[in-house]
Amino acid sequence: MTTDLKPTGGITLAIPAQPEYLSLVRAVVAAAAALDPGLGDARIEDLRVAVSEATTNAIEAHANLGSEERITIRCDLADDRIEVEVQDHAATGFDPGDLESPAPLDTPGRLDYEGGFGIPLMRVLADEMKIRSLDHGTAVQLVVYASPTAKD
């Protein structure tokens, strides 16, 4: 008889497109990630920020379009990684090819623009980040790999 020490499977959250739910999303994703012994605190924190960024963008997409559909956050624990997909249902997705990296903060005039950090942060904090345009909405997939040894 063998015991499967590592839980696999997933959970899905469907939240109203309201910023008040961000904290809940982060808490649930962090708790799910903590089930994986290969994910240390630092990596869980990376994931928490990346998921917060993706969910914030999704909430903004809904607000801009007046959509009342929910945002879904799917969290899958696989053997060697955790995958989180944040999907909005705003009527039109955006073209990831349109994205430009923000200029460094010490560039003259850069301080005039306070945003633009979300997507670059997701790229560096997650091991993989993919944005897909759907017929109705956008899906952002974030992957963080577990390390067999490191606790941090």
Partner: protein, 114 residues
């Protein structure tokens, strides 16, 4: 509320001690507090981040906005008690290059970039 801001004074510097999580839900509150201080003539601000459990790019945007506003009024905005986690966020976004980290007891003396 998930965010509280406590105001105190250190010499000519006004300290905003923030507790909680700074994200899209709570950042309007912090922004409003920063704007109110600067409008009231307190243009030299230190944001004490010692009690901040979480910040994302929306929160970082509020700090940038506050810095810009303070400087436009002849003041400055600095940060204090930046933990490892926030330091990483500052480094990743380049915010650490423009935001001075100071000791709460002596906000005049910048400790260098985060």
């Amino acid at each position: 509320m998930l965010l509280t801001v406590r105001i105190s004074q250190s010499g000519s510097w006004t300290i905003l001690s923030v507790h909680g999580e700074i994200d899209m839900a709570t950042c309007p509150q912090l922004r409003q507090e920063i704007v109110a201080q600067i409008s009231g003539g307190n243009t030299h601000l230190v944001i004490d981040l010692g009690g901040v459990e979480f910040i994302d790019s929306t929160g970082l945007g509020v700090l940038i906005g506050g810095l810009k506003r303070a400087r436009s009024q002849g003041g400055d905005l600095r940060v204090s008690r930046v933990g490892d986690r926030l330091e990483k966020m500052f480094a990743l976004t380049g915010l650490g290059d423009v935001l001075a980290v100071v000791d709460l007891a002596d906000p005049e003396q910048a400790q260098g970039a985060a």
